[in-house]
Symmetry: none
Subunit: 85 residues, 4 copies
Amino acid sequence: MTAVGGIAPDILKQYIERIERLELEKMQITENIRDIFAAAKIDGFDPKVMRQVIKIRKMDAQERNEQEALLDTYQKALGMLPDFE
Amino acid sequence: MTAVGGIAPDILKQYIERIERLELEKMQITENIRDIFAAAKIDGFDPKVMRQVIKIRKMDAQERNEQEALLDTYQKALGMLPDFE
Amino acid sequence: MTAVGGIAPDILKQYIERIERLELEKMQITENIRDIFAAAKIDGFDPKVMRQVIKIRKMDAQERNEQEALLDTYQKALGMLPDFE
Amino acid sequence: MTAVGGIAPDILKQYIERIERLELEKMQITENIRDIFAAAKIDGFDPKVMRQVIKIRKMDAQERNEQEALLDTYQKALGMLPDFE
DNA sequence: AACGTTGAAATAGTTC
DNA sequence: GAACTATTTCAACGTT
């Protein structure tokens, strides 16, 4: 906790400004997403249903990744793959 | 709800994929932010304090905006400004 | 999760009814607030402005609290205050 | 909008303070509700399920009210009830 | 009266 | 596993 005292306020400031910039970018992306939902709604698609679809697709992807990881583990255990990355 | 039936699944797919791409970008930014906090922590800065600082700075900015909006509203109410923008 | 099976439906019922009563109270308060806004409007006050004023006052209070918390955190970090409360 | 100018700031202040007091009460009730959910959870009840139950009960109540209102309308139309309240 | 906007609240995820 | 943060969801409000 030595840095807080007064040694390196500039460094701290830089960290904080970088974070703030990234948070701003995040906000802008969020707005973009909102706009797309709005456009889709105008085209007759229900945003609520769309969100569900996206959620399910995400879960599917996760399962796929987990299964692949599991497969990988088995293969390594069976000497079918090298142990290192 | 006509679009959902079967007419335009392609359009829906495009909307969803655009959203998924943006959500991926958001996640990456979130990770970047996490990394910065981690780096700052290694430099001796307390993430908790950093978050408080960021929050206060954000509140300052918001409040400034609110104050200006309120002033504007008053001025309009008193006929000192045109109602349209 | 043993309680759900059939042992203590009465207890559950009591919890739920207490919550429902409180939610009813909340709704009534919300209605009271609406009524006050309406009365103020009749007296010539713009609800929009009132909401802005309330928001700014709330932000002021929050910010004061945040500032104090931040100061406290710094002081603890510098060993100027005991860590426990 | 005459009142805003400077005639009756006291009145405005009173309105705003009454609203703030009510909003505080609302917050306290919200906290009470949270506490009850927490207590119920300790007793083994799943808060998520409880919320669903409460929601369903609320919908049931609404339906009941709507049906009663409909019945009332029919009865009035058929001269089975007086038109006034 | 429906629509979009905004603010609160809950849930999920992360960190300690 | 407990606390805290962040994201998502839901409801209310103003607006058109």
